[in-house]
């Protein structure tokens, strides 16, 4: 159980980047054996604070004490030696090495001959630690062959193998199934009992109440407050995060669906999609629900021409179109907001302007020459219109927070005047405040006459946002619901139903 003595004490930590104050005099106290939630919108400074703790980023001001010993020496090694271990959202595992080799990477024990590794010791020790954690993973398995949840456990084992006193977990559940989350939580409780302090970052509010002891909220680089979880409510926390009341999480709107913009008939891709037919009307938001692996993203990719199809037709505005590449899809008026913004949506090294105009270069150029002023003004328009937080249009996208990066992707398609928008998990990894902004944008786009297909794993989001809901199950459309008539239970039932009873 949590005791009162602080194990970690960060005082007055500040960090400035050119044009941005990332952290402004933040204090954080974490006790032995507690799970301390760090909460804040994207760009609030959570990641920067944790990178400073881990020694990956230098602080401008402030002190860090662990067990009363000041941590002054910069760099990750000093932080590690002081007992800080961090598990980033993107794992740092070497894919083609074994679990055991990964756990002890950089801390191998020698056999006596210089440079020769004691493999036996590594495997025995790794097995012991995995057993301690209560997870059944073969220490000799190659990491690349493991699922995401298992890789996560390897990360935990690796983090603990340095005898960490403070373990930071950044969005540990974002890629896990419910069952895997339960297992992760039981591992975390085990750590707690051993006196490890866990700092836990997550956007999934319901999790916080399950696993957290105390919560610290940051906003715009400043400390808003630290509370005991038992004494807070979800609404209270949201208010602390965004600084305003969010009464309407899913803003309502009246729709009168117009003409048919997209009609998919008998679409198939061998082994992935089977006989898919549906329509999208102007002004309509259609939710696409289903389990992971049910073919939702694959369907969007097929419509967008990113994957080839084996059968079926796609009609846009009543005319049959042959979509064999993303280029053809864009030409026909389809835009795709991918799930993985950084890998598939943005060119991180390019500026906001260049990303916004990327799908629209043809219309921004005469005889191949770009109209830089026209591009810049388009970017400025979307920065204002979508409230993209950036020091300027020339800023590189890599320096923006997740929610703002998502807005840049959206701006890219709006700039192209795309009428059919495929959103794949539009709010994944985005904080509560930005989520509502994205919802409002989606509603606005629908009201402006766009047709929207929204893939989401969050059923409340599907129910709150959609006019109609399609449920996918093993590559087929297993059901269609009017949003008013659907419930979480009915959608789930449809998504889980086995086709061969």
């Amino acid at each position: 159980m949590a005791t009162e003595c602080p194990l970690l004490r960060m005082t007055g930590v500040s960090k400035r980047y050119p044009g941005v104050v990332a952290l402004d005099g933040v204090d954080l106290e974490v006790r032995k054996g507690e799970v301390h939630i760090l909460l804040g919108e994207n760009g609030a400074g959570k990641s920067t604070l944790m990178k400073i703790l881990a020694g990956a980023v230098r602080r401008d001001e402030g002190t860090i004490e662990i067990d009363g010993v000041p941590l002054d020496e910069p760099g990750p090694r000093a932080a590690q030696a002081a007992g800080v271990s961090i598990i980033y959202q993107e794992f740092n595992l070497i894919p083609h090495l074994t679990v055991a080799e990964n756990i002890f990477l950089g801390r191998e024990r020698g056999l006596g001959f210089p440079g020769v590794i004691d493999q036996g010791w590594i495997f025995r020790e790794a097995e012991r630690r995995l057993t301690d954690l209560g997870v059944a993973i073969d220490a000799r398995a190659v990491v690349d062959d493991l699922g995401v949840a298992e890789q996560q456990m390897v990360e935990v084992a690796k983090a603990l193998s340095i005898d960490a006193k403070v373990l930071v977990m950044d969005e540990p559940t974002s890629a896990l199934t419910d069952k895997e989350i339960v297992r992760l939580f039981s591992v975390i409780r085990g750590l707690q009992a051993r006196g490890v302090a866990v700092i836990y970052i997550s956007h999934r509010m319901e999790e916080l109440f399950q696993i957290g002891d105390r919560v610290t909220v940051l906003r715009d680089g400043r400390l808003i407050g630290t509370r005991t979880i038992r004494d807070t409510t979800m609404d209270g926390l949201i208010q602390m995060m965004v600084g305003r009341d969010l009464t309407e999480k899913f803003p309502k709107r009246a729709v009168t669906p117009g003409e048919e913009l997209l009609k998919v008939e008998g679409l198939a891709r061998r082994g992935v999609l089977h006989d898919i037919s549906f329509t999208l009307r102007r002004g309509e938001v259609v939710g696409l629900a289903g389990l992971m692996g049910s073919g939702r993203t694959e369907l969007a990719r097929a419509i967008f021409g990113a994957d080839p199809i084996d059968a079926g037709s796609i009609r846009i505005r009543g005319r049959e179109v042959k979509i064999d590449s993303p280029r053809a899809a864009i030409h026909a008026g389809v835009g795709f907001l991918t799930e993985d913004r950084k890998r598939q949506g943005l060119v991180l090294a390019l500026s906001v302007t260049e990303n916004v105009c990327l799908a629209n270069v043809n219309r921004m150029a005469t005889a191949g020459c770009m109209h830089l002023a026209q591009e810049e003004s388009a970017a400025q328009r979307y920065i204002t219109d979508l409230r993209i937080k950036t020091p300027g249009a020339a800023q590189r996208v890599m320096n923006l927070s997740g929610g703002n990066q998502q807005k840049v992707v959206l701006a890219k398609w709006l700039c192209r005047e795309t009428e059919i928008l495929l959103f794949d998990e539009p709010t994944r990894g985005i904080d509560v405040g930005s989520k509502v902004e994205i919802y409002q944008l989606i509603n606005r786009l629908a009201a402006e006459g766009k047709a929207i297909l929204m893939i989401s794993s969050e059923l409340p989001e599907i129910l709150g946002m959609s006019d109609r809901i399609l449920v996918m199950n093993r590559g087929r459309i297993a059901g269609e619901f009017q949003a008013a008539a659907a419930t979480q239970e009915s959608l789930l039932q449809c998504a889980l139903a086995s086709s061969h009873p």
């Binding site: 980023v57 280029r327 890998r343 060119v347 270069v361 020459c369």
Partner: protein
């Protein structure tokens, strides 16, 4: 301290420029022969060949590729052009033929990479050998020498006192800079190098532009070959060995990232000038050509090392 955005975004080029200027000052102090009009024009002329080829490499490297075949393309396109000249073709026709050969080799590279999905390293390594072999076959291994004055004017001629190769180099750089910064082609080169998948999903015709990038590299290698052949008054099937390495070096010294997505041709020009001035200066100082190689290698490493140290500081 507030740094103006123009300088901040070109900080790497300013660093390279600083190195270049320091080098010039040092050589001016060390030898009276360095800072003379004729020597500087000489340096510019000697640099022009590497500088022109390096522009193509810069495009390729920004697109996150590599082209090892440019040295062999110099030889192959050179002997084909020389053969045409000796067969009595008009200079323009012969030169265009040479440029077409280089462009063709580049297009083959591009097709193998974009549609055959070969890694650029492998495709252009193959072309390096193929083009070299074709050049040797074409002349049966012999050099082709002796051309008319009209052709040799491309190397020896002057326009208002400036050597023609220098003018060609400056023209290539002005055009290449404009294309990279102000045109659709340039934008797509950065986008493809920065994130190929996102570019594809944004409707960028990635494959076609990749082919175009390698075609440009082949074309500029052939242009370099025109300058070389005119200067030597001879085309040799064994010409251009290690030219690809010089061009890569100029590009990298100029701050273009081998990871792709970032870079500039202005940096490459300065990079090529640094290499040219260094060679010239060491010659003037009477340093042995063996030791020159050591110095130039060290400078390449030092330039990139400085860059990484500088980047680490900024973090």
């Amino acid at each position: 301290m507030k740094i103006p955005p123009v300088i901040a975004s070109h900080a790497r080029q300013f660093g390279t420029l600083l190195v270049f200027m320091v080098l010039c000052v040092v050589l001016t102090v060390l030898t009276p022969h360095f800072l003379t009009v004729s020597n500087l024009l000489n340096v510019a002329q000697q640099t022009s060949i590497n500088a022109v080829i390096a522009v193509g490499l810069t495009y390729v490297i920004i697109s996150a590729g590599i082209d090892l075949s440019v040295g062999s393309i110099v030889a192959f396109s050179g002997v084909v052009m020389a053969g045409a000249l000796q067969a009595g073709w008009p200079v323009a026709a012969a030169v265009l033929t040479g440029l077409a050969v280089g462009t063709g080799c580049g297009i083959v590279n591009g097709l193998l990479i974009a549609f055959g999905r070969l890694p650029p390293f492998i495709a252009t390594l193959g072309m390096m050998s193929v083009a070299r072999g074709l050049g040797l076959l074409h002349t049966d291994g012999r050099p082709v020498s002796g051309f008319g004055d009209a052709f040799r004017w491309l190397a020896n001629g002057e326009v208002v006192g400036v050597p023609v190769p220098v003018l060609i180099m400056l023209g290539v750089y002005a055009a290449a800079h404009f294309v990279l910064r102000r045109t659709k082609f340039g934008r797509y080169v950065f986008a493809i190098g920065g994130n190929e998948e996102a570019s594809l999903l944004s409707g960028v015709p990635v494959a076609a532009y990749k082919v175009a990038v390698y075609a440009v590299s082949g074309l500029l290698a052939a242009l370099g070959s025109v300058l070389l052949t005119a200067r030597l008054n001879s085309a040799q099937p064994i010409a251009g060995i290690n030219y690809e390495l010089d061009a890569i070096a100029a590009t990298v010294i100029g701050g273009t990232s081998l990871m792709g997505g970032q870079g500039s041709v202005i940096g490459t020009l300065i990079g090529a000038l640094i290499m040219g001035v260094l060679r010239n200066g060491l010659n003037l100082l009477g340093v042995s050509s063996f030791f020159q190689q050591v110095v130039i290698g060290a400078v390449i490493i030092a330039a990139v090392l400085l860059d990484t140290v500088f980047k680490r500081q900024k973090r």
